[in-house]
């Protein structure tokens, strides 16, 4: 379905159209867009791993940028469309990573940090904080409390975007993003450390 590397084929036109449709509020457009972007994201990631070994770790930002450039015909979209696109990839990253974490039973991370039983006192907050699953759950609660702050975390952390870009995506000032980020991060941190007590 997707165009071979370096070429623009049939696939990406669909993406642009779908993106426009979604921006215009067409129901269902996002659902058909999602798998296309998801695949592209993974594909680009592979290329990155192949090309940029020396960089060693892969920043999600780079992925999102490239997916955007590849999939979307720049001449036909507005910055609002771009905002939608970025917002979606951040959600996607979150979903990809959390599913991955669940699938691998959170091997790398601290696991659902919760005080369990006898003799188990100090679970360091940092451990629990790195737990994606717990984070994901806490983030859901944050969204309930204050949707925009949840989105800010999603875009900054899972989307790997810069403050400036988040501001653009959410159409708020950079200062607001900074403030949102600060309180949201504190709130999540407290949430995760409470859960471990």
């Amino acid at each position: 379905m997707l165009a071979p590397e370096g070429h623009m084929g049939e696939g990406e036109r669909d993406v642009t159209q779908m993106l426009l449709a979604w921006s215009a509020g067409e129901p269902g457009a996002k659902d058909s867009l999602f798998p296309l972007v998801y695949d592209e994201l993974k594909r680009i990631a592979r290329h990155y791993l192949r090309r940029e070994r020396e960089e060693h770790t892969l920043q999600p930002t780079a992925l999102v940028h490239e997916a955007y450039l590849r999939l979307v015909d720049q001449t036909r979209v507005t910055w609002q469309n771009r905002a939608h696109f970025y917002g979606m990839t951040a959600t996607m990253m979150r979903r990809i990573l959390v599913n991955h974490a669940r699938a691998h039973a959170t091997e790398k991370r601290g696991g659902a940090a919760r005080r369990l039983s006898l003799e188990e006192a100090n679970i360091s907050v940092e451990q629990s904080a790195t737990d994606l699953i717990a984070l994901d759950e806490a983030l859901n609660r944050l969204v309930q409390l204050d949707e925009r702050k949840g989105r800010v975390v999603e875009l900054l952390y899972f989307g790997g975007l810069e403050h400036r870009e988040v501001a653009e995506v959410l159409n708020v000032s950079e200062k607001t993003v900074q403030r949102d980020w600060q309180i949201a991060r504190s709130w999540l941190y407290r949430e995760l450390s409470l859960a471990s007590n």
Partner: protein, 863 residues
């Protein structure tokens, strides 16, 4: 709550200097306590969270996610080689079929490249290791290394001879090879492994799928990916490979690999034995019920493989599925190989010799192994013999270590105590006249002794009846001796006291706590009557009774007895009395400290445990007594770790573990407990893989030394459950917790304090799985147990009550939840102090429930 308000105040507070924020808050918002509290806690979180949600975490996760990504494509070049297609992939590398077609040659090769995204230091190191190993090998039955370099994208690769062939078992089956032909191929494999060993290389992952056989019948050994290069300076010495368990293929792994012990060339000999077994019989030597590490350890370390001839004749196969997964071929038909007769005798012995549990009892070298097969092929006598009777007897003792070793030890101990008593009687006699009745007395003791000797003799020679009855034997023996002591030694109070104590200890070592207590109490009474309370014999018995009471969960009684013993030893020590024993004092202090710990008196506990360690460290203990020093380190370390002081606790535990490992002979049970605490430490710091490794090794040691029913094992399983809970694997967690509960209930039908931990854990697991109703049950049971204790541990009580209330909330039973939550708060406040985090948690919990009940006023009154 008023989120906007909180946000506003939080933002404003951030503009104030950190040190003044609290004062600022109180100055402006003192009238709104709830707001102050909320903002304050957010500010506290803010101060700690600067590294929280950093981007590097995420990038790492992403790298991992994508490491399975698609690899090189057809036509891509690696130096002089052009990729044709992928032919295999393992844990760290991908292997391609490639061709070299430059001006000089046209050659088909295999190219192995590190997987993308996995090029971490560790993997690159292993990869280079493999390349180096292959470079040092040159043998016609080992795939040759041809070349190596880095690809354009910077990943190292190496080029090997491309082996066109079939995996070993498939080849033999498809060509319908006879037993003799199979053995001939196997000997060529041996020569390859032998060549590796001569080059100080251990393969460590020998299995049929790593051996390809070419069309002309030449086997080629592949994949040295986990091979180990022995440092030439340490040639001949063994090495420990901590990752061995993770990298090996379980079905072909040796007991030492499963246990994470030293891996030597004998390990390869064992794996070759498994390969030969399968080659000859079509099945693997062990039946695995599942692939869990515990099952693996049970099968490989504890169960005896059936004889290949039996396996081939299908006798043992009824419950075993055909082993078809090792290289994808089925084992249904193997008429020639099923010729059990050909295997009976020599081949049975040869294969079983390679498969012995103890590395030192296998073939000394692959060469010897291969030589024995040659001798068999030529009809010469082979060196492998059926296990001898003495071997089987010693084997039996080590396998049923607890019963039999205990039986002989107990007999020795009782005999020793009698000899001492006789000697004392003899000494006394010298001072008196040799009256007639004295001589009679001595005679009676002699008779008693003789009866016991013959008893012991009988039980050691008739192996099979003992084997069937296992540990019952020891208990039966003790049951017979105990009344005789009463009857025959009534007029010899000193001897009687001594023998009673020995019998008491023996019962204790068998887990027969009631009988142990009865005998020890009788001994203590006799000793006190004879010598008074203040003497070394009575103190030793008191220590023993104290430890016993502790193990029975009677903490009050344990504390009382150990305190007395400690008082005696302390006094002796201060008086520099000849009987003073630093080791005895340190041991009694240690156990007393442990008892205090479980009673929740942590201050007293640490002071005792520290004193114990100080004394044993200062005493320059030697020999067996040195174990006390290690024991002290381990217990102090464990207590520190339990309270979250990993920095101080972990090094002590590591030292203790290292010292236990240095003790010659099989690992002592204490190592199991030390490893468990190391596991707990790693677990509580979120290092789950490491924790798993420790707990698993600990489980192995504990099962091996103390059997399948012991309190430490129950604790271990409970922690394994906790670990799985953290990994969010609720199913496995529940299973482990239930195992732990079963073990603790079987081990100690009356000490239900031990049951509380798995009940608590189970409650948490069920809660998380949304099964609040069942969780409630377990919380209530755990609570009832904690409630029964004479000296209440409020940390446990409050924690469980909070959980219980939450399980009630989850069921919508708010009034009951409120009541339990109130009890928790009321317990916490006076007993733990208002400042305790647990008191705060109990208060918050109660407030939250009030709020749910719409009792706003009550909730606020708590804030």
């Amino acid at each position: 709550m008023q989120w906007q308000k909180i946000e506003e105040v939080f933002d404003a507070a951030l503009d104030v200097a950190p040190a003044e924020r609290r004062a600022w808050l109180l100055k402006h918002w003192a009238h709104d306590a709830e707001l102050c509290r909320e903002v304050e806690s957010l500010l506290a979180a803010e101060a700690e969270s600067s590294n929280f949600l950093s981007k590097s975490n995420l990038a790492q996760a992403l790298g991992l996610l994508l490491s399975d990504a698609e690899e090189a494509r057809e036509g891509q070049r690696m130096g002089r080689y052009r990729i044709v297609r992928e032919i295999g992939r393992g844990g760290m590398g991908v292997v391609y079929l490639a061709v070299r077609d430059d001006d000089q040659f046209r050659q088909t090769v295999a190219v192995k490249v590190v997987k993308r995204g996995l090029d971490t230091e560790e993997i690159l190191r292993r990869f280079r290791n493999e390349r180096q190993i292959l470079a040092s090998l040159s043998h016609k039955n080992i795939a040759r290394l041809l070349d190596g370099d880095e690809s354009e994208d910077g990943r190292p690769y190496f080029v090997m001879e491309y082996v066109e062939g079939l995996p070993l078992l498939k080849y033999c089956d498809e060509h319908g090879l006879s037993v003799t032909e199979r053995l001939q191929i196997f000997r060529r494999i041996c020569s390859a492994v032998q060549h590796a060993h001569q080059n100080l290389i251990i393969h460590r992952d020998l299995k049929p799928s790593n051996i390809l056989v070419t069309e002309d019948g030449e086997p080629k050994l592949l994949d040295f990916g986990v091979a180990k290069l022995l440092n030439p300076e340490f040639a001949g010495e063994s090495l420990t490979e901590t990752h061995a368990f993770r990298v090996m293929t379980p079905e072909y792994a040796s007991p030492e690999q499963v246990r994470g012990l030293h891996v030597t060339t004998a390990t390869d000999i064992y794996s070759l034995g498994v390969v030969l077994y399968e080659l000859l019989t079509g099945v693997r030597p062990y039946k695995l019920k599942d692939s869990s590490p515990a099952e693996l350890s049970r099968a490989i370390c504890d169960s005896e493989p059936s004889k290949p001839s039996d396996a081939a004749s299908g006798e043992q196969r009824s419950d075993q599925p055909p082993s078809s997964d090792s290289d994808g071929r089925k084992t249904e038909t193997r008429p020639e190989v099923r010729n059990a007769k050909a295997l009976r005798g020599d081949l049975d012995n040869i294969v079983l010799k390679a498969l012995r549990k103890e590395p030192e009892r296998r073939y000394k070298s692959v060469e010897q192994f291969s030589e024995d097969i040659r001798r068999h092929l030529e009809g010469l006598p082979v060196s492998a013999r059926k296990d001898t009777f003495t071997y089987r007897a010693s084997k039996f003792i080590s396998r049923h270590k607890q019963p039999v070793a205990a039986a002989s030890l107990i007999i020795l101990a009782i005999i020793a105590s009698l000899i001492i008593a006789l000697w004392q009687a003899e000494a006394a006699r010298k001072q008196r006249d040799l009256a007639q009745h004295e001589r009679l007395r001595a005679e009676r003791i002699n008779q008693f002794l003789q009866r016991m000797l013959s008893f012991s003799n009988q039980s050691l020679t008739s192996v099979s009846p003992v084997a069937q009855r296992r540990d019952v034997t020891v208990n039966e023996m003790l049951d017979q001796i105990a009344p005789q002591v009463e009857a025959e030694l009534a007029d010899q109070p000193e001897v009687r006291a001594q023998v009673l104590r020995t019998i008491g200890s023996a019962y204790a070592s068998q887990g027969q706590y009631e009988a142990a207590e009865r005998n020890l109490r009788a001994a203590l009474e006799a000793q006190v009557r004879l010598y008074g309370e203040e003497n070394a014999d009575a103190a030793a018995t008191m220590t023993e009774l104290g430890v016993l009471s502790y193990r029975q969960g009677k903490l009050e009684e344990a504390s009382r007895l150990l305190e007395k013993a400690v008082a005696f030893y302390r006094k002796q020590g201060q008086a520099h009395a000849p009987e003073s024993s630093a080791a005895q004092l340190a041991l009694a202090l240690d156990y007393w400290g442990v008892v205090k710990f479980y009673q929740g008196d942590t201050n007293a506990s640490f002071s005792l445990l520290n004193e114990a360690l100080r004394i044993s460290t200062g005493a320059n203990l030697q020999g067996r007594e040195r174990r006390v020093l290690i024991f002290n380190k381990s217990d102090l370390g464990g207590a520190l770790v339990s309270l979250g002081d990993f920095e101080k606790g972990e090094p002590l535990l590591l030292e203790a573990a290292a010292e236990y490992r240095q003790i010659p002979g099989p690992p002592p049970w204490e190592l199991g407990s030390t490893l468990m605490m190391l596991g707990v430490a790693a677990l509580n710091q979120g290092r789950l893989d490491e924790a798993d490794k420790y707990l698993l090794e600990s489980e192995g040691v504990l099962r091996h030394t103390l059997g399948d029913q012991n309190g430490y094992l129950a604790q271990n399983l409970d922690r394994q459950a906790a670990l799985r809970f953290r990994r969010n694997d609720l199913k496995a967690a529940e299973e482990k917790a239930r195992q732990s509960l079963t073990v603790s209930q079987a081990f100690s039908p009356h000490n239900n304090l031990l049951w509380a931990a798995p009940m608590w854990t189970l409650g948490d697991i069920l809660m998380k799985g949304g099964r609040a109703r069942e969780a409630e049950d377990y919380y209530r049971q755990a609570l009832a147990i904690f409630d029964q204790q004479a000296k209440k541990n409020y940390t446990y009580l409050v924690s469980v009550k909070i959980r219980l209330s939450q399980s009630l909330v989850a069921q919508g039973r708010l009034p009951e939840a409120g009541q339990v939550a109130r009890e928790a708060r009321d317990d916490a406040q006076p007993n733990l102090g208002a400042e305790s985090p647990l008191t705060k948690a109990a208060t918050d919990n109660l407030a939250a429930i009030y709020e749910k009940q719409r009792k706003g006023d009550e909730a606020r009154s708590l804030r």
